[in-house]
Symmetry: C2
Subunit: 434 residues, 2 copies
């Protein structure tokens, strides 16, 4: 075995599903891996919306990167923020120092994006990070608190209106969960308002929600949402978002709380790598997921533009990122053994799409199997237990999550932050402008 | 039964142990209770240090005030910040409106205090609120992260030095827990540093730690701490605290992380009530816990100066606040029944003092029983389960806390906040000035 000094150095940027998967698949390779992330935790994003709706605590969906790799001795972890990549010198400059590499894997993911309307962000936060989730949780819970002590019925109605923009899985899951929060978890906790009067409005510009799904499942999902009390507004464009509400192509909606689930984009990866990107900022890669002129630099997960059948873009879901990370790791492991560079292109295997609608329904499309309703929901639950075990070994942790979720514990209903005070917001000057 | 309009209005400021206990004891009284707090949660402060040391999540030690009272229909909860009290008009002005009362119970507790050295706060946060705990958690975890990527051995040593000021129960518990975190939970997670080399220094100005305890238990506690690797420095005064370290009467200690456990004071209650206070800001009350000229205004818990045998001040612990809250509630309940005003003074019953030192030792003094070591630790654990059940009914929640605590889960090892970046701090200009 060569000495540590001769080992090839693999630097992985980002400890999401792609980065973690790549590092784990290199466990037996004779390489020195450094995982760099600006957070100290891996985030289990599929359940992040449950932090936003007070079902789970941040620590339930995020695990220290170090503890994931505590037994994998060829990995060191650095908490640092990337500033630039020097492709010629093969090094990454961070605020914690310079890291040299023989192989670089960029797996830094995507952020929510407002497509030129960045001023909407303050009024309608997206849901990508822990801080986003706790911010949304605070806004949702504060709206009920303000409604409880409001004297003006118009203000009360405005506080009890929640608008979710974007009918993708995140928007659907948030809409269902907020409606459940109001109708079940908070039902008995207020004296002056009836949380059951809460309006949850899901706005989608297209003709149906969950466009990655077959049409019949989209319709079933919409009906499930409506049974939970969610108003689904299709073919509706958002024209403006302010502190007071949302203006859509169909009219004005006074609403204290707005949540953005309408799109993501990649921020820095293209600039770091001086690489060509598509309009969402995704880095254009070869079929082997490398930069065209730099076979030692791979990009995986949401940060890369990866296509599969019919030239579709591989979806931004955990299994896709994990597969790409594992593919790149296997290629690097082969090279360290002196074998010729892998030429087989990455081939994405799509296991299916699923989205949950509250606690009693989900829709699943696995191609050969289409399901909706309670059974689909149980499959969704089991699938997430399976993924949770993959990341964080003990099964009882996954089961305990599932148990507390089933029992509506809502243990995490905290409004945290330095001064979560009541600042009664002004009523909209004009309630209806359309 | 008189109509709602004729009911006496009881306003309770603060949903700590005193306020919650008062409201609960009034459950059967024909009164309309409003509990006002600027947070939406009741904080189980005795376990707050475990949030600071990443054992528990904030939601494990804090419960929504609304859910505590969801079944007690004579209570409404208002999330609002008190601005002033009008004793003549019998009303409380808040940022959420005016609340009129027939009986006012002030139970707003105490904050940590720096006795004229307020500039120390930014360098050595205290531990009273959730934000304090997550801030300390971030600082503790970030120190290890910075040490891992530091090149300079002096900086590494400084990052791995933790100074806790004050040898009361909070200081003792924090010191033991940080030492355990370094020596057990983090032991295998780093590649460039040995967390076992961490120095945890507990500084106490007096001759012994845990001065509320008998002398022999103090000494046993100090020895338990030392077995966990904590350096206990007695008879040591803190002269200055800066970003770089602590200057004490015995010398300079370069230390990245400093934690304040040396004292508390009451901030606003005296001013709101235009009342006489002692030098720590505690409101002077009658033996019936009321303001001398306002028998309709009671003060309980840490905000009040309450004395018991030998003119000692009743300790600032949960049982004392609960007893005072219950006493005042009983007095008010009698009055609403038309009975003459209670003259029996409040009599504090001291059940004992206890402090835990890591996961395997504690000291307990119940007067007739003095214990230290493992058995004391188990009693500490059972006592906390008992209290937890009191606040948050289901026993399985308390047991699940205890279980995850026993198994060293450290699930909450998150560095949260917007930008937890590496900002290498300057090494101290002079390492040793003494």
């Amino acid at each position: 075995m060569p000495s540590a000094e001769n080992r090839q150095r693999v630097v992985i940027l980002g400890a999401g599903f792609g980065g973690i998967s790549a590092a784990q698949k290199l466990a037996r390779a004779d390489v020195a891996i450094t995982v760099i992330d600006r957070r100290n935790y891996h985030l289990f994003q599929p359940l992040l919306y449950q932090v936003a709706t007070a079902d789970l605590s941040p620590a339930d969906v995020a695990w220290p990167i170090r503890s994931i790799f505590s037994r994998q001795k060829n990995v060191s972890v650095a908490l640092a923020e990337v500033q630039s990549v020097d492709l010629a010198a093969k090094s990454v400059l961070t605020d914690g120092g310079v890291f040299e590499y023989d192989h670089l894997i960029v797996a830094t993911g995507a952020h929510h994006a407002y497509f030129g309307n960045d001023d909407w962000e303050e009024h309608a936060p997206g849901l990508k990070r822990i801080v986003d989730a706790t911010e949304i949780r605070k806004r949702v819970l504060m709206a009920f608190e303000r409604a409880e002590i409001a004297k003006d019925p118009a203000q009360q109605a405005r506080e009890l209106t929640f608008v979710i923009v974007g009918g993708g899985p995140t928007g659907v899951e948030m809409a269902g969960a907020i409606s459940e929060l109001a109708r079940f978890s908070l039902a008995k906790d207020f004296r002056n308002i009836d949380p059951g009067q809460t309006r949850v409005i899901l706005i989608e510009a297209g003709q149906r929600i969950l466009t990655a799904m077959p049409e019949d499942l989209s319709h079933k999902a919409a009906r499930s949402l409506e049974r939970l009390g969610v108003e689904v507004q299709l073919n509706t464009r958002v024209e403006d978002i302010t502190a007071d509400g949302v203006r859509t192509s169909e009219g004005e909606i006074p609403a204290a709380t707005k949540i953005w689930g309408a799109g993501v984009a990649v921020r820095d990866a293209g600039a770091w790598l001086s690489a060509e990107t598509d309009q969402a900022g995704r880095v254009i890669v070869t079929p082997q997921l490398t930069l065209p002129d730099h076979p030692e630099v791979s990009v995986v997960g949401d940060a890369a533009k990866i296509t599969w059948k019919d030239n579709q873009i591989v979806p931004g879901i955990a299994p896709a990122a994990k597969q790409a990370g594992a593919y790149v790791a296997k290629r690097i492991a082969r090279e360290t053994l002196g074998q010729p560079r892998e030429k087989t292109p990455f081939a994405y295997k799509h296991a299916g799409n699923l989205a949950t609608i509250g606690r009693h329904a989900a829709v699943i499309d696995m191609g050969w199997l289409k399901l909706s309703g309670v059974l689909a929901w149980w499959i969704w639950g089991v699938a997430h237990i399976y993924f949770l075990i993959g990341v964080r070994q003990p099964i009882f942790v996954a089961l305990s999550w599932f148990w507390s979720y089933l029992t509506y514990a809502k243990g995490a209903r905290l409004i945290t932050g330095l001064r979560p005070l009541i600042r009664p917001q002004k009523s909209p000057a004009k309630d209806n402008e359309s």
